[in-house]
C-alpha cells in the first residue's frame, strides 16, 4: 500500500482473520515500522492485540453475540503515528512493517504457533 500518494485524512491498520483454538493467555503490543533491534518504542506503538473470546469466534456449535466471522478482527486508527513518522522521515514509501510484541513475559511456555493472523492491511481515506 503506497500511502504517500497524497495526504490521507485517516489511516487505519486492519488486522483480521485472527484465529486460535484457545486464548494464548497474554496480549501483544502492535507497532508499525519498529526499527530493527528495538523491542518497544512508544513512537511506533498503535495499540494492543487482545485475544479475549477468540476461542468462540471459530466455535460453530452455538450462536454467539456478533454472529462470529471465523476469527477476530481489530482495526487501529494509526493516523497520528503515521503523521509523526512521516514528519520524522521514518515512513518508508509503500512499505510498512508491523510487529507484534508480547506485553508481559509468559508465566509458562506458550505455543506461539497456535495463533494465526489471516491478513494485515492499511486503509487510508
Amino acid at each position: 500500500v503506497n500511502v504517500n500518494q497524497g495526504i490521507p485524512r485517516r489511516v487505519y491498520l486492519n488486522v483480521e482473520g485472527i484465529r486460535a483454538a484457545h486464548n494464548p493467555g497474554r496480549p501483544y503490543g502492535v507497532y508499525v515500522n519498529l526499527p530493527a533491534g528495538v523491542t518497544t518504542d512508544a513512537q511506533h506503538y498503535v495499540g494492543n492485540l487482545s485475544f479475549f473470546g477468540i476461542e468462540h469466534t471459530t466455535d460453530d456449535r452455538r450462536d454467539h453475540p456478533g454472529g462470529g466471522h471465523g476469527g477476530l478482527r481489530l482495526v487501529f486508527d494509526i493516523t497520528r503515528v503515521y503523521q509523526r513518522l512521516l514528519l520524522d522521515g521514518r515512513w518508508s514509501a509503500g512499505r510498512i512493517s508491523v510487529t507484534f510484541v508480547p506485553v508481559v513475559a509468559p508465566v509458562a511456555p506458550i505455543d506461539e504457533g497456535a495463533v494465526r493472523i489471516g491478513r494485515v492491511s492499511v486503509y487510508v481515506r
Binding site: G17, T58, R61, D63, G67, G71, R119
Partner: protein, 226 residues
C-alpha cells in the same frame, strides 16, 4: 449575485452501486429462474442439464453478502473479478455435487413414495445439529490478499469453502427441489426462499424448526394436490 460552484460528487444511485456491488449479480439469478420456468414448457427439463441453472438461481442469492465482502476486501479495480472468482468457486462446488444429488433424486423419484420420503428427509435435516453448524460456518469470512494471483487463488478457495458449507446446509432442500421438478414450481421457489433466508439472516439457525414445519407441510400439500 454569484454562486460558488463546488465540486460535484457522485450521485446517490452511483454511490449505492459502489457500496453494493453484489446486486450486479442478481440478474444472473433472475435469468436462472426464467430458464427453469420455461425449460419445463419447452420440454428441456433433464435434471442433470438443469442442475447448474438451479444452482445459479438458488445459490447465488444466499451468497450475496459474501460477494459484497469479497468485492470490498479487494483492490477497487478488481473488485468484480474477485467476486466472479469467488462465485466460480462456490458454484463449481455445487455443480460437482450434482453428480451425487441428481442421481439420488432420480432414485427417489423412482420409488413409490419417493417424493414424500424426500420431503421427510429435508424436514429432518433441518432439525439436525449438523445443519446449524454448517449454517454458522456460512457466515465465516476468509482473509483475502488484495491483489495478484494470490488474491485469485484465495477468492477461489474461499468460494469452495463457502460452497462446501452452503452445500452442507442446503443439500437436502436442493435434493427436494430436483425431485419436485417443474411439477411443483411453487414448492421449489419456497425452498429457495427458505435456503436463502437461513443463510442471509444473522440468526438463521433459529429458523430451522419453522423451516422444517414449512417444508413438511407444503410438501405434503403438494403431494396431495398431484
Amino acid at each position: 449575485m454569484t454562486t460558488a460552484a463546488g465540486p460535484v460528487g457522485p450521485g446517490r444511485w452511483r454511490r449505492w452501486v459502489w457500496h453494493h456491488p453484489e446486486w450486479g449479480w442478481t440478474p444472473l439469478c433472475a435469468a436462472g429462474w426464467v430458464v427453469i420456468v420455461f425449460s419445463g414448457h419447452a420440454g428441456m427439463d433433464h435434471p442433470l442439464a438443469l442442475w447448474p441453472v438451479m444452482v445459479v438461481a438458488t445459490m447465488v442469492p444466499p451468497a450475496l453478502p459474501m460477494v459484497r465482502y469479497v468485492a470490498s476486501a479487494s483492490r477497487w479495480r478488481r473488485r468484480h473479478r474477485s467476486a466472479a472468482v469467488f462465485l466460480a468457486g462456490e458454484l463449481s462446488t455445487w455443480t460437482a455435487a450434482g453428480l451425487v444429488v441428481v442421481p439420488a433424486a432420480a432414485l427417489a423419484g423412482s420409488l413409490p413414495d419417493g417424493f414424500l420420503m424426500t420431503v421427510g428427509l429435508a424436514g429432518l435435516w433441518e432439525l439436525t445439529t449438523a445443519k446449524k453448524r454448517f449454517l454458522r460456518r456460512c457466515h465465516w469470512t476468509d482473509p483475502l490478499p488484495p491483489d495478484g494471483w494470490r488474491a485469485d487463488a484465495a477468492c477461489f478457495r474461499f468460494g469452495i469453502r463457502y460452497g462446501r458449507d452452503s452445500l452442507g446446509a442446503g443439500w437436502a432442500l436442493m435434493l427436494l427441489m430436483v425431485v419436485a421438478g417443474h411439477e411443483h414450481l411453487v414448492l421449489m421457489a419456497l425452498l429457495a426462499v427458505i435456503a436463502a433466508a437461513e443463510e442471509l439472516l444473522a440468526k438463521g439457525t433459529e429458523l430451522t424448526r419453522a423451516a422444517a414445519v414449512a417444508v413438511v407441510g407444503v410438501g405434503i400439500l403438494a403431494a396431495a394436490a398431484t
